[in-house]
Amino acid sequence: MHSVSVQNLSLKFGAAEVLKNLNLDVEEGEFIVLLGPSGCGKSTLLNCLAGLLELSEGQIHIKGKNVTWAEPSERGIGMVFQSYALYPQMTVRGNLSFGLKIAKLPKEEIEKRVQRASEILQIGPLLDRKPGALSGGQRQRVAIGRALVRDVDVFLFDEPLSNLDAKLRSELRVELKRLHNRLKNTMIYVTHDQIEALTLADRIAIMRGGIIQQLDAPQTIYNRPSNLFVAGFIGSPAMNFIKGTTVGGGKAFKFGDVTLNLVGYEGGAIMDRPKAIIGLRPEHLAIVDEAVPGLTIPAVVEIDEPMGADSLVWLEAEGKQISVRVPVEHRPVAGTKVHLKVDIAKSSLFDETSELRI
């Protein structure tokens, strides 16, 4: 039994189809991140799961129960919002317990749950304060607490860390992971921040235009993006794309004067394609002095950006800008002619027409 199961979900606002025939199965205890650019439908999908938006077609099951028509509060979900959405005139305790009081839970039970949530989130000392007197990080903890006390199986997060500054964001990210490890609840998490996605997710669903482009473990998504969009979206700095052709029955990739040997490429049948694209991540390239036929690309160093732990070097090859991540101690001098060694096993090939990974 899936924890959350979405079948053939479509959502239309008038003529505009915001979500298109979506399917998504989430396992018990899984941490799923919905990732995508603005307007891709990720928050909309989350709102559909929560029952805050009515879908046009399809079904939603949570814990095996068909909740397609159920009220938000009856779905067994808790939700955390970007703007925290705390009730400003109530104390933290009030915020945590308000929904439970409405549900007419016995007092002791409410007290027990508030106590537990405040322990888990370490907000005990804040219980009698009002949200206005809390910092952003504290507020978001309270917002999580409000989902926690509902004692539900599925947590929905709608960009919960976007309103925080960078430092707090990374702290809370770790805390969220810890929380997930401890509670083992199903969590569905919307963000536009790929670091959050890569660090938190068991699986990432990359969305675009109301369609899930790829749903896979972070490493798979990173190393084997299923199409050009996913490849370009994930990774910072972005993957280098070079247009060319595959020749020799799929044995080599040719662009300009350069020919790369494709033996060892992990993927499908390459064949000869007149329009292909090779994607190379900056950390999968290395700067070498000597050319190796079929394995290196000649290039000229333009600038480098030291980033602390390593350095990002920008080079020019065959009229194309290419970025390479190198250890700081290996920073080359601008204007130097070098060669870039390609790790074919970690590269991605795409068909330019279909934009799909080969």
Partner: protein, 300 residues
């Protein structure tokens, strides 16, 4: 449970709804009943404006006219007499526009910035300032007429458009400032803090954060100011000078004739005609009331 039954009741797609639910019915019923109460005087005005004076004097005010005529309308617009001239209320139309547009813009601009300062950048005497402003909104404006005559005379702008713009800005300020100050105060303060952390300055925060988030309140403010200024008679006639007499001077002259007989049908038509500009603004402003025009649009 049989399979067939299960299939039939398996929720899928949009939740089926009756044509109208009980709650919806109550919502619309209340709205419509209230609308009828609000429309009753308008109905009488319109009916009266289509009657002849003989029919007005002999008939029941609620009874629809039997012989509708546009005479009162054309007379109100085109030929009703106000003193020497019999050119109806159209005469002052452009003057009213000339007074209303700059007065509305200036007063709202000044008030929104003042409200923003009071809400987010408190200065030393801001509380005193605000108290005086607030008290100002309770002064019967008529007693300020003479001091303002002296002030505008000393500024050398008496009997010009500038004087009337100044006066409207001054009298609009207490309520307008209150409007903006309190609305800005109700917006989440994190936004203000975050923007400051990001290095945005006084004007940057105002224009990039607060203005876009405050479209509904700007709409209310425009409604308030346009109505007040468009319908103002006294300030226009005193401070704007005879060459800038607004439309309401003609309306007043038609409606308030002291001794001569009253042509109610023309009065009604003239009133509705004068009110068309604010009414249009109310209707057009509608879309700026849509929820989350600024806040909701950002997310995917």
């Amino acid at each position: 449970m049989t399979n067939a039954a299960s299939f039939a009741t398996t929720p899928s797609g949009a939740k089926p709804k009756p044509f109208i639910t009980w709650e919806r019915f109550v919502v619309y019923a209340v709205l419509i009943v209230c609308a009828l109460f609000f429309l009753l005087p308008l109905y009488i005005m319109i009916m009266t404006s289509f009657k002849s004076m003989a029919e007005v004097q002999s008939g029941n005010i609620f009874v629809p006219t039997l012989h509708p005529t546009f005479d009162a309308w054309s007379k109100a617009w085109d030929s009703a007499c106000t003193g020497l001239y019999c050119e109806g209320i159209k005469v002052g139309f452009w003057n009213s526009v000339k007074i209303t547009v700059p007065s509305t813009i200036v007063s709202i601009a000044v008030a929104s910035v003042t409200g923003y300062s009071l809400a987010n950048w408190p200065f030393k005497f801001s509380e005193v300032f605000f108290t005086i402003l607030l008290l100002g909104s309770f002064i019967p404006y008529v007693v300020m007429i003479y001091p303002l005559v002296i002030i505008t005379r000393e500024l050398g702008i008496f009997s010009t458009l500038w004087a009337v713009i100044l006066v409207h800005t001054i009298f609009g300020l207490p309520i307008q400032t209150l409007l903006f100050r309190n609305y800005f105060a109700s917006l989440p303060q994190e936004l203000f803090k975050a923007a400051r952390v990001d290095g945005a300055g006084y004007w940057g925060i105002f224009f990039r954060i607060f203005v876009p988030m405050s479209v509904p309140i700007f709409t209310v403010s425009v409604i308030l100011q346009v109505t007040g200024i468009w319908n103002d008679f006294l300030f226009g006639v005193i401070y704007a000078g005879p060459t800038n007499y607004p439309m309401t001077v003609q309306l007043n002259n038609i409606v308030n004739s002291s001794m001569g007989g009253k042509a109610y049908n023309v009065d009604m038509a003239a009133t509705i005609l004068t009110g068309i500009v604010p009414l249009t603004i109310y209707f057009v402003s509608g879309k700026y009331f849509v929820r989350g025009i600024a806040a909701g649009a950002v997310k995917g």
